[in-house]
């Protein structure tokens, strides 16, 4: 092969030089996401919550354990911006520390279901056949149990606590990720560029890692973001019925639950943790929706 082939055909692209800067698809996605104001609002809120969770000790005005039995269920005041709870603890501080728990539960639970469900789904989608059958029938079984019930069953059997809650919530949503990853892998697997990789001699491992996974990430990222929201809600729900995080660890759902009995006398005790949950979930949903739009290639047209 020689290079005098240059003149063989006039190189196309010369007369229409690419004036735009070349952007990878991820750069393109980020550019679209940045233009979506709602999604950016969501992202900023989440970053703020992350920040408060990490620096809770610095930010929180009080220790979350400090009880003050003289000031039980006090309404919001200058010393206690969001009031105090049934044991006289500062609600604001507990919400700030609670962010830690919620974010941890959300992200760890999603990681668990993503790793387990994602791997199962990817294998089922790529190899099909009997493996697919066995995996997906098992997923059908798990899907038949409403996920919060499954989480309740697991936690009621093995006990509450941060770790168990994360595992329970994670396991309960495994089938969701298995299905999404499988569908995504199958749709990518059918694409011609996968066959093209095989045609130039790529092995299965390379095809899965270099071609299929990067291209099937879009729906997984969206589901993952929304999944964190769902996991946080589920964990809060578990704590609410007394199955989740154990005191004195501040957890939003548990705080809400303890405020429930004070609803007539001190409604703020139940109100503020609920608002905290809602803002977090709202922000995650905003970001998830924005990601969905940014990752949807059809919107490019």
């Amino acid at each position: 092969m020689k290079t005098e082939a240059d003149n063989m055909v006039a190189p196309t692209g010369e007369q229409a030089p690419n004036t735009r800067k070349s952007r990878s698809q991820w750069a393109e996605v980020w550019r679209r996401l940045r233009r979506n104001r709602m999604a950016m609002l969501g992202l900023v809120i989440i970053l703020i919550i992350f920040f408060t969770a990490i620096f809770a000790e610095v930010i929180a005005p009080y220790d979350y354990r400090t009880q003050n039995l003289m000031r039980v269920a006090d309404p919001p005041s200058r010393e206690h911006l969001l009031g105090t709870d049934d044991l006289g603890r500062d609600i604001l501080s507990r919400i700030i520390f609670g962010a830690r728990v919620s974010l941890q539960v959300g992200f760890v639970a999603v990681s668990i279901s993503l790793i387990v469900g994602g791997t199962l789904g990817a294998l089922a989608g790529y190899y099909g056949g009997n493996l697919d059958n066995v995996v997906m029938r098992f997923m059908d079984v798990l899907l038949a149990i409403p996920s919060i019930l499954l989480a309740i069953a697991i936690v009621s059997a093995f006990g509450g606590g941060l770790i168990n809650v994360m595992i329970a919530v994670g396991i309960a949503t495994i089938p969701v990720y298995a299905r999404i990853v499988k569908a995504s892998v199958i749709s990518i697997k059918e694409q011609e560029f996968v066959e093209a990789a095989r045609a130039v001699g790529a092995r299965d491992s390379r095809i899965i890692i270099k071609h299929i996974l990067p291209n099937s990430l879009a729906p997984i990222i969206v589901q993952g973001t929304l999944g964190v929201a769902i996991a946080i809600l589920s964990a809060a729900g578990l704590s609410f019925i007394g199955l989740g995080i154990e005191p004195p660890t501040p957890e939003w759902g548990a705080m809400l639950s303890s405020g429930r009995h004070l609803i007539r006398r001190a409604p703020h005790v139940a109100t503020f943790p609920g608002i905290a949950i809602m803002i977090t979930i709202f922000a995650l949903n905003l970001l998830g929706d924005g990601l969905r739009d940014a990752l949807d290639p059809r919107l490019k047209q």
Partner: protein, 308 residues
Amino acid sequence: MHKYILRRLLLLIPVMFGVSFVVFTIMFFTPGDPAKILLGERAPEAEVQALRTQMGLDDPYLVQFGRFIFNALRGDLGRSLTTRRPAAQELWARFPATLQLAAAGVLVAVLMGIPIGIISATKQYSLFDGFSMVLALIGVSMPNFWQGIMMVLLFSIVLRWFPSSGYGTFRHLIMPALTIGTSSAATITRMTRSSMLEVVRQDYIRTARAKGLSERVVINRHALKNALIPIVTVIGLQFGYLLGGAVLTETIFSWPGVGRLMVDAIRQRDYTVVQGGVLLLALTFSIVNLLVDILYAYIDPRIKAQYK
């Protein structure tokens, strides 16, 4: 069509077998001795052991599972560890209340979600669209147990419109149904909107417009039925979500359903009832999904054709 229904019914058997297996296994490895729970912590060891033998708790795992399945098929889910009454009886007594609540929730969700979603889609980017989309997003972000408490605060304590708890009349149903249905309504609104927007982009909608049909006919006759196909599936899934959500909602409103029974049972470590409850709700969910699939085939002739 009958073949399709039969096939789906047959598929239910292995799924329910699997569900029983999962639930039984979780409960089997639960720390805590049912015999001891039944007799109380201070019961003499010999008595506990005798009861263990009588209940077959010393048998191997698979034997116990086989017995569980065998009994469950006859409608026997074991005895409640607290009341000593048959768990099936206890659950069955509470079941209508849960079904009522979930059905009311679905009704709220469908009646709110589908119309709002359609209007939003046909008036994309309008004020109505923007407003309802923000509301829907808040709807999916609100924890329903919190929403329930807030509703009690507003409508029972402040406004005194509805009773804060209880069961029996329509007035009792309103707040629990709204609580449990809100997030599903929001989900269905969002789904309906995006599904409609997707369908409206299709070529056959252009064909319909090219015939000179009015926009109303194009939407009602051509777009809606196609858009409903994925929504029907979502409604089915939401029903499962509502059955799960019943556990929380029933607790807030003291609603005498399976959910509250289960929460009480968990507190008293009454695993037989928990196990039976999960099984019962999963079975309900599976049957609802079966009905949804059949409905699906009626809406979409392409599915029906596969099973002619």
